[in-house]
Amino acid sequence: MNEWFDIAILALDATMRVSAPLILAALAGLFSERAGVVDISLEGKMLAGGFAAAAAASVTGSAWLGLGAAILVSLALALLHGFACITHRGNQVVSGVAINILAAGLTMIMGLHWFNQGGQTPRLDNEARFLSLDLPGAQAVADVPYIGKIYEELISGHNILVYVAFLAVPFTYWVIYKTRFGLRLRAVGENPNAVDTAGISVTKMRYLAVLCCGVLCGIAGAYISTAHNAQFVRDMTAGQGFIALAALIFGKWRPVPVMFACLLFGFLDALAVRLQGVKIAGIGEIPVQFIEALPYLLTVILLAGFIGRAVAPKASGVPYVKER
């Protein structure tokens, strides 16, 4: 019994770490899409943010400055998306794709230019990374059966950005449903005409939403390159931005279900790592490539099994034009 418990704790622990960037990115998408701006470029913002964080941390030696850089870069890309979609009413999906491709290329180019390591950033020392924190009293309760273990392994011992990610969920819930800003944001995504005639600027609300998205994506990117890993490498995000998008749809654009969707993906990913080398009767060893493909496969299955009744915010994807 104890052994199963330990395995469960370890699995959940890994799940939390893998889900953290997904949660941040999915919440980022939530802000944007609830306001009616579809955002395919979570991936690109994360990638660019991750690069900025690793680059800045490498040069300054401070993980926090890296985080700041990540947020700034992600905001810049978010503003670009906003400029194209809100001000110029461009096709939101096309804009997202453009930003993803731009991020992929620019990170490599600037990486080569600044660090001359083929596009990577140098490996970071521990001082320049976000490391795991021990919450107060973790060591003291470590021996208490079950609960102590849960506190010591599962809850304590993560790096600060993981805590930020999980705290972002109730914070997002509070902003969206309990503040004036959140009410107006939701209104803009459902019926921008109603907002306009109430004397609120649709443009301003959407830009604010897009900026919120940028901040969260920046944090997600910084997590990947300076917390979870110790440098930036090519195409580091590996599709996590899109998986976050799938989680957002699966969670019906609501903060808590979205978190659970991200945890599900994280759990399956952590599980997949454990499946490496495992043999299945009659088939033999599970191929490495299958395990690598699992998250993408599961995204498709979840989107397919989901009987399209996901009701997106009504004005999602539609540029706001004053009717004549």
Partner: protein, 374 residues
């Protein structure tokens, strides 16, 4: 009841506006060159030389153009049906797998003249099959096709690695690749074909598949605008409710158009596998799928525009390779950045200059209008 279509003349919409967008993309690239300490003028010279300056370079340019025509047409067909096919990367990859499998399996049984057409069909079918599932899920389940096609790109990658490493691998090679096909099933290179007519040109990867690409462009033009299926496709893409009213079944159209789209992307395999590499290998599809998006947008989703845009991108790719070769601080990623900029300015910011053009046009021709209305 917008009067948008009327306010600036057709030529401004169709030619001047796209031209301005592309110029902006290039200007932004020049900016990036400056940022990394490269002289944009020098870079442009190297780029153009690489693309046109010598026979081998021209060959390379046209070889790239072939791929872009295929993927550009693929994206355009889907766009006309109202869909965004981002899965060109994966469809091209799997299309190549189809062509390669046919060659590996049938080359010993059938003459080359039979195998090659079968391989061409296989690349189209395999590409279509890879697009089929996302299409079906969008049509009948409402699953967002953008996400599913991107996922299928990743899946194609994993599948190909598995196939190359575990199934088809020819031992003794540095990177995973299959055995070489027998020469009977090689699609002739252009320099070989021209030699039949007594014309000598430098060797390059350019091969006869470029004619297939041009044929595909003609097919797409006829299909989209001169057949009833094309009408159904365009109606579904513009107004799904009107399509239903007209007795068209949007779900079927979605699947059909994505399959055609996938088939077109899959034919990159004809160029890469049958025409150039003559074996199956990894990453031969790299970037062509995404470039197809830029090409389609630049070419306004019309075959003529796509051929021209493909040529431009062929120049960029080959020129970019030359640049990366000549300058140590540039890699081929600069072409990726250009792609992104083109998609940004020709796609998302498509109409950015329109208000200024409108003002310009009205102030120039405004005199006439006022006379009319007085």
């Amino acid at each position: 009841m917008s009067q948008q279509g009327h306010e600036i003349p057709f030529w401004m919409d169709a030619i001047l506006l796209p031209f301005l967008n592309i110029v902006t993309a290039f200007a932004a690239t020049a900016g990036i060159f400056l940022l990394i300490g490269v002289d944009p003028v020098e870079a442009t010279q190297i780029l153009i030389y690489g693309a046109f300056g010598y026979e081998e370079g021209i060959g390379f340019t046209l070889y790239y153009t072939t791929n872009f025509i295929f993927t550009g047409l693929a994206v355009a067909v889907a766009f006309h049906a109202g869909l965004f096919n981002i899965g060109g990367e994966g469809q091209a990859y799997i299309g190549g797998l189809g062509a390669g499998l046919v060659c590996l399996l049938l080359a010993q049984w059938l003459p080359g003249l039979l195998v090659i057409p079968i391989a061409i069909v296989a690349s189209a079918v395999f590409g279509a099959a890879w697009a089929y599932i996302p299409a079906y899920l969008q049509a009948y389940r409402g699953s967002h096709i953008v996400i599913t096609t991107i996922m299928f790109n990743f899946l194609a990658s994993s599948l190909m690695v598995y196939m190359m490493v575990n199934v088809l691998n020819e031992p003794g090679q540095m990177s995973p690749q299959s055995a070489e096909f027998s020469e009977a099933v090689w699609l002739p290179f252009m320099h070989e074909a021209l030699a039949w007519f007594g014309i000598t040109v430098e060797a390059s990867p350019l091969n006869l598949s470029i004619f297939l690409a041009l044929l595909a462009a003609v097919f797409v033009w006829v299909f989209i605008w001169h057949t009833r299926w094309g009408y159904q496709l365009r109606t579904t893409g513009s107004n799904a409710s009107a399509a239903i009213y007209a007795g068209i079944k949007p779900a079927r159209v979605i699947v059909l158009s994505m399959c055609i789209s996938g088939a077109l992307a899959g034919m990159v395999g004809v160029n890469e596998i049958l025409g150039v590499n003559h074996r199956l290998l990894l990453d031969f599809n790299l970037g062509y799928g995404f470039a197809g998006i830029a090409v389609a947008l630049m070419g306004r989703n019309h075959p003529v525009g796509i051929i021209l845009a493909s040529l431009l991108f062929g120049v960029l790719y080959q020129g970019g390779a030359e640049l990366a070769f000549e300058m140590s601080n540039i890699t081929r990623d600069i072409v990726v950045v250009m792609q992104g900029l083109v998609i940004l300015f020709s796609g998302a910011l498509e109409f950015m200059y329109r208000p200024w053009l409108m003002k310009l046009y009205q102030s120039v021709s405004g005199v006439n209008r006022r006379e009319l209305e007085a």
